[in-house]
Symmetry: C2
Subunit: 317 residues, 2 copies
């Protein structure tokens, strides 16, 4: 039996690294707790913005265990578990389910391009069958701009038919509202939970029958985004949406992942948070200047973050 | 100090799977030995055609050890070791070097698209530095149609400057002769070994200063391809090249990886060899018919393969 479904605003939590590029579990826990206290209903750890594909399977397993040991409830977690290699996806998914996580967010295998829906169906089906656990709530991760391997409407329909109890929903990071609308129109009424992949589409997604968003900017602006989620039926909804969209545009005007980490480092008063693993690179000075100038025009703030990270930085130093 | 450099025809060896999709080491060893006896000077195991990114790190390590234990010389091996995650690339590369492999063929981290040369430089540099072994001969793997992350001329130059003893060459699978030519013109004279990524470009590559090819079709047609390599300066070279190009075109007219496995299964009289891991899928009946009809027009043969695989199939049954 599946656990209660996640709704609302989820952050694909960025993964902090120490100077030697090893995973910094202390800072990660500090940031996760701040997110849950400031608007995130859940955490989509190990997503694209988490540099999850730059982590080994063992690093992901250990970091999830550190998070749980620090007292974060697994009912708030939707870890990313989709890898190129079937044994890796099975191992991570089984570990998440056995840890009690609310769900998993699964990329298709993304090395081979132009693969058939038959091959992708088999890829997801093998994971469901091999994990073989009725607690599994699998969210499909559609992000063609990065993975370059799309999840088609036909594939969703086939997976839902084969595994109605396990296929729980989707994160649509296509950036194409027409696709999100088609997914909503075809599947939302049947209990398939649609998360927009950016808060830019949050209000449209809620009006279309979706359940929230899983968004990069949730890492730094969770309160205002959650405010839109909670008030999407109010008279102020469009104005509130306009505000979070404007902030998003400032952040996505520069490379997103280093930008998110620089924002947390700056507003959390913790310079060590900014490190990225290759192949990502730090922002240039020009990008940094543009980013923070933009945020000042938005009167951007991250209340309480410095306090939340202070202890963590000291522990990991 | 590096070992003797590989030259000639290398096959990116396909990886056989048992019915339960586990790796079939027995069949793999049988096929590898046949390749080395029939025209391949080396084996680029764990390449794109090997479904290597569909294998876990542990599966790759174990399979390499099985191959070495079966008596295949590491001086003939150039395993693929480039993964999305730095710790995985370091682990596989160190294992290959410590096993005495002649070189490693390294994909760039391929999840994130549009990354900077700075980020890619750091990705390769971290592997070289962390492996920290002068025996390392690193071949860059440029395959933009699949990885979608190219290796630019500028990146090659920067890596050669920083690590002249470790950066040994490239496999160019761009399918773009102009790119291969530019790589040859810029770097071949300095001892940077250029392998064409398809035998279609073998003769041009040799005439331009290259050292051979690492080609999918090396799995099934190694003898004739090696014959072009050995006779590239002869009067018959263009005619010989025309023959292997014609055979290549038959194979690449259908999805290559399942096609290679079906050819080995058919000509090796070992039906179990055809299995692929998802997200790949078996050929359709139509594709299969087209493939084998085409091969018959080429008077295609794989002498001795059935014998080489017979014992292996029995052991793995």
């Amino acid at each position: 039996m599946q656990r209660q479904r996640l709704k609302g605003v989820l952050a694909p939590v960025v993964t902090p690294f120490k100077r030697d590029l090893s995973v910094d579990a202390e800072r990660f826990v500090g940031h996760c707790k701040w997110l849950l206290d400031h608007g995130c209903s859940g955490l989509a750890i190990f997503g694209t913005n988490s540099e999850a594909n730059s982590l080994s399977v063992d690093e992901r397993i250990e970091l999830l265990e550190r998070l749980l040991a620090a007292g974060v409830a697994p009912s708030r977690l939707m870890p990313g578990t989709g890898c190129c290699a079937l044994p890796d996806s099975v191992k991570l998914t089984a570990h998440a389910v056995n840890s009690g996580c609310a769900g998993v967010l699964m990329l298709p295998p993304f090395y081979y391009k132009g693969v058939s829906d038959e091959g992708l169906f088999r890829a997801f089906a093998e994971v469901v069958e091999r994990v073989g656990d009725r607690r599994l709530a699998l969210y499909l991760y559609h992000i063609p701009p990065v993975a370059q391997v799309p999840i088609s409407l036909g594939l969703i329909a086939r997976l839902l038919k084969a595994y109605p109890e396990s296929i729980a929903g989707i994160k649509d990071s296509s950036g194409d509202w027409n696709n999100t609308k088609a997914v909503l129109d075809n599947f939302a009424a049947g209990g398939f939970d649609v998360f927009a992949g950016s808060e830019v589409f949050l209000l449209d997604n809620m009006r279309g029958g979706g359940v929230g968003c899983i968004t990069a900017t949730g890492n730094v602006n969770p309160g205002p985004i959650d405010h839109v989620f909670r008030n999407w039926q109010s008279a102020q909804a469009d104005a509130l949406q306009g505000e979070i969209t404007a902030t998003r545009k400032v952040v996505q005007a520069v490379p997103m992942i280093p930008a998110l980490k620089e924002i947390i480092a700056r507003y959390g008063e913790d310079a060590g948070f900014a490190t990225v693993r290759p192949p990502l690179a730090a922002l240039t000075e020009e990008e940094r200047t543009k980013l923070f100038a933009g945020l000042r025009t938005r009167e951007f703030a991250m209340p309480g973050l410095a306090g939340a990270l202070q202890g963590a930085a000291a522990l990991s130093a």
